[in-house]
């Protein structure tokens, strides 16, 4: 990997930036090939292909930093010079540092060589299959939107501390957004998404069937009931309502700027003791897995919340230096931007009760499978419409309901969590269970 064309370009940019009198340099390079086929109104739309190499240079002079990037290799020299110019004009910050090299074992299963020869007509065939699976499942279902895409990436990073790392990856991703129509009845939109690192791992059938089943399930929805009490969130709804808050509050950047409430809560309980959240960047074949982060720091599996207690934040080199804590290897982004902070494969660990058992001991409640509304990651307040929602009565799902509003506070909801299902589902790169929340305002539409 260290002898690839991309790696050579990165090394050249490193040397050139140093010649322009930068005292520290980082170069991140990325070559990406993408093919995508889109579906609209149960028909194929434009097929797209793209290939691009992007080089991003961070130049440091006396703890001043500047960033420049370009997708034109012939302009590399000017990119290096620009990064140095930007650095020299900037105020210094003692926390502008680059990581030292640290050896790592490559994560297994991130790249399928067969992806290299995957063509637009291969992708078109699979897109047609999405339409065929939906048509065969139930004539009442229409795939309003969908897509299949393949993304083959090579990432390289070098820095002036001698760090040099490279990795190839491939990701096939696909989704279906469906609606069902039966006479005058129109269902809510329903969605499912799947992804695989390998050609052989593409599984369209379960994804498309899920999307169809969900759309059909919400046919005949009628206004529900108003109450304050228990609701169950599906993995998708967990991501929509709680995901943003969890990531905002645990991002060390937001702790440094004073906008996270959990900045001084490390080692303290911030959620019900049944909740454990893990970020596993080394998950085999994981969609968001990689061996090193945007700054070349080795990836790891880390607990963020253990038994309801906050045990780690998400750090990159800057926040780890500023707060004097170990770098967790969560520098995010690509060659087009300065390193940010972000999760990889985020997982809420499953509980030991099935979803049906969670429902079985509820007298009145709501099962929410999708959410459309606001969820403020700072105050924790959320309010919006429960889409694909079902009224629960005396331990059973009674009927689908429409236009039901739910409102509550995510901080309170995490503390009062009353159930975690044993089933989990993948939501993009996260793996999440069903969660049961208490004291949520439910208003019939």
């Amino acid at each position: 990997m260290t002898d690839s064309h991309l790696m050579k370009h990165c090394q050249q940019a490193l040397d050139s930036t140093r010649r322009h009198s930068a005292d520290e340099v980082e170069v991140f390079g990325q070559t990406q090939r993408t093919i995508s086929v889109e579906i609209e109104k149960a028909d194929l739309q434009t097929t797209k292909s793209q290939q691009e190499t992007m080089i991003g240079v961070r130049a440091f002079t006396n703890r001043q930093v500047g960033f420049s990037c370009s997708n034109s290799i012939v302009d590399l020299e000017s990119v290096c010079l620009d990064a140095v110019k930007l650095a020299k004009a900037s105020p210094a910050d003692p926390n502008n540092v680059l990581p030292q090299p640290d050896p790592f074992e490559p994560v297994v299963g991130l790249y399928d060589p067969a992806a290299e020869s995957y063509s637009a007509s291969d992708a078109v065939k699979r897109a047609i299959e999405i339409l065929e699976i939906a048509a065969a499942y139930d004539k009442r279902v229409i795939v309003g939107n969908g897509a299949i895409s393949v993304n083959v990436v090579e990432r390289c990073i070098v820095n002036s501390n001698g760090l040099a790392a490279g990795e190839r990856g491939s990701v096939f991703s696909y989704y279906a957004l469906t609606t069902a129509r039966d006479g005058d009845q129109v269902s809510n939109m329903a969605f499912d998404f799947g992804a695989s690192r390998t050609v052989a791992g593409i599984e369209l059938e379960p994804v498309v069937r899920n999307a169809c089943e969900r759309a059909l399930g919400s046919l005949g929805a009628a206004p529900g009931e108003s109450f304050s009490g228990q609701i169950i969130l599906s993995p998708d709804a967990v991501s929509d309502i709680l995901g943003g808050l969890l990531l905002f509050q645990t991002n060390a950047r937001n702790v440094l700027t004073g906008s996270s409430r959990w900045g001084d809560k490390l080692g303290q309980a911030i959620a019900h003791s049944s909740l454990t959240v893990v970020d596993d960047a080394r998950l085999e074949e994981g969609v968001a897995s990689s061996s090193f982060d945007r700054e070349g720091v080795p990836r790891a599996r880390r607990e963020i919340i253990r038994d309801g207690e906050l045990v780690s934040l998400f750090h990159n080199a800057y926040t780890s230096q500023a707060m004097g804590t170990p770098n967790t290897g969560h520098a995010s982004g690509g060659a087009r931007s300065i390193p940010g902070i972000g999760p990889t494969n985020l997982m809420v660990l499953p509980g030991d009760v099935s979803k049906d058992d969670l429902i079985a001991d509820m007298k009145q409640g709501l099962l929410v499978t999708r959410y459309s509304g606001h969820a403020d990651p700072i105050s924790g307040d959320f309010s919006g419409v429960a889409k694909g929602a079902f009224l629960i009565k005396n331990g059973k799902i009674e009927r689908p309901v429409s236009g039901t509003l739910i409102a509550g506070n995510a901080f309170d909801a995490l503390r009062q969590l009353s159930g975690i299902s044993s089933e989990t589902a993948r939501v993009f790169s996260s793996v999440l269970p069903y969660l049961r929340l208490e004291s949520i305002s439910v208003t019939a539409g």
Binding site: E40, D43, L44, S49, Q51, S68, S70, N71, I338
Partner: protein, 464 residues
């Protein structure tokens, strides 16, 4: 490059569209006294769209040599061919329009490149510092500057051949105030299609800081809005957001065909007869609108498209494919953000035409209502024109006078019903979307605005 693209188009038997784009951007952002980002980006390439057997294929390349571009043409064609046998609704044709030719420079006396990085950085740092020092209640402060400079060459098989430039600077200020564990945030931004001096033509960094800090601090002691139906006076900021977000998207022809509420409404009443709404490639009524666009990304000259004329729905926004489908002329609304994006139906500058009522007279006529200014945090709108927007600044109107600030107000309803209820349209006008970017799979720089408008709407807040 223009000659090369013309010769490739001329020697390609099937219909083809070639778009060269060289983009240079800069971004400077300072928060709490620390520089978070100082960066520059260069993005150059050619996007190719081919039409073969009634299907579009799209490919892009960073290889600017003739054989590199020809390879991209072949790739776009083979992508189209791969889908041709399975595609049910073939593209019957592309509507002809005003195919543009020529060079379209940026109209400004003060190009951004005339101002060095140091000057831009110094202004951002000074502005952030003045937010930070404005009040003891300020807990967090941010200022940022960004610029997007584009050069495009668009050539197609129908004879369009244009060399097009754009220059969009943006400036933002954020203040977070804090007291007894309570936090309030206020944000302000401005943006133009033009140069450095144009950016601060209406609002200077000083006035933005003053407004932003004042609002964040005042909200700490403001009572919460009480939910209910109110007579409201919307400022040009919210009139713009309503026009773009809640109405504009429902008249984009691709959204219309996807089942928007407007599908069978052409020629029908959708708003009060005081309302005339347009989407234009020019900066009507006031200069510097961010969405200025002389020629769209299909090489069609833009125009002022009247969407609603005195309350009657007159037109959708079209690209060439949708115009052919509806049997009308394209309106010049096909836009692509980067070289690697294919053109989609997008807005430009969307606005409501000014009316005749002086703003103070409009407010004086409200016995018990709310004056609502600008978009706050959170917002969504559906293709049925149902919307919910956070309001940046809400003040009570009592006996015709603007009074107390209230916090946490949201504006919601059906946008067509809200416009149906309009009983006064101001004689003022402002482009007001600030540094807004529209997202629809890809980004687009757009603007929106209008006069003040008095109407009836649902305000979300707490219950008494």
């Amino acid at each position: 490059m223009q000659k090369l693209l013309e010769s490739i188009a001329a020697s390609t038997p099937d219909w083809v569209e070639l778009r060269y784009q060289a983009r240079r951007t800069k971004e400077i952002r300072v928060r709490n006294g620390k520089l978070e980002e100082s960066s520059s980006k260069q993005l150059t390439g050619v996007g190719v769209r081919a039409l073969v057997d009634g299907v579009f294929g799209f490919a892009s390349t960073t290889d600017l040599a003739e054989d590199g571009i020809r390879r991209a043409v072949a790739e776009a064609q083979s992508s189209a061919r791969a889908a041709a046998s399975a595609k049910k609704q073939k593209i019957a044709g592309l509507a002809p329009g005003r195919f543009a030719r020529g060079t379209f420079p940026v109209q400004t006396d003060d190009p951004l490149d005339n101002h060095p990085l140091e000057e831009k950085l110094a202004l951002v740092m000074k502005t952030e510092e003045s937010v930070r020092n404005a009040s003891d209640a300020i807990a967090s402060s941010m200022a940022s500057f960004a610029e997007i400079l584009d050069e495009k060459i668009i050539v197609n098989s129908d004879g369009s051949s244009v060399h097009l430039f754009s220059s969009i600077p943006e400036f933002r200020v954020v203040a977070v105030a804090q007291q007894d564990g309570d936090q309030t945030m206020s944000m302000d931004s401005t943006s133009v299609h033009g140069g450095w001096a144009d950016l601060f033509g209406i609002r200077t960094p000083e006035t933005m800081v003053e407004d932003c800090v004042q609002l964040a601090v005042d909200q700490l002691s403001a009572p919460h809005a009480i939910g209910g139906n109110y007579t409201v006076v919307l400022d040009p900021g919210l009139v713009g957001v309503l026009s773009h977000e809640a109405i504009g998207h429902t008249v984009e022809a691709d959204i219309v065909l996807g089942g928007a509420v407007t599908l069978d409404k052409i020629g029908k009443r959708v708003a009060s007869d005081l309302i005339t709404m347009c989407d234009s490639g020019k900066s009507e009524h006031a200069s510097g609108a961010t969405g200025i666009l002389a020629v769209d990304d299909e090489g069609i000259e833009t125009e002022r498209t009247v969407l609603i004329e005195q309350g009657i729905l007159r037109s959708f926004l079209h690209n060439r494919e949708s115009a052919a489908h509806f049997g009308v002329e394209p309106t010049g609304n096909a836009r692509a953000y980067e070289y690697s994006d294919e053109p989609l139906v997008r807005m430009r500058n969307t606005y409501i035409e000014p009316g005749e009522t002086p703003v103070d007279e409009m407010i004086a006529g409200v016995k018990n209502g709310l004056y609502l200014k600008g978009l706050g945090f959170g917002g969504q709108a559906d293709s049925n024109a149902e919307f919910m927007f956070g309001v940046r600044e809400a003040r009570r109107i009592v006996d015709g006078k603007i009074g107390e600030l209230v916090r946490g107000a949201t504006l919601s309803g059906n946008a067509f019903e809200v416009l149906e209820s309009a009983d006064a349209v101001g004689n003022d006008f402002l482009w007001s979307l600030g540094a807004g970017t529209c997202g629809k799979g890809q980004a687009a720089k757009v603007d929106a605005g209008g006069p003040h408008i008095r109407c009836v709407a649902t305000i979300g807040g707490r219950q008494e």
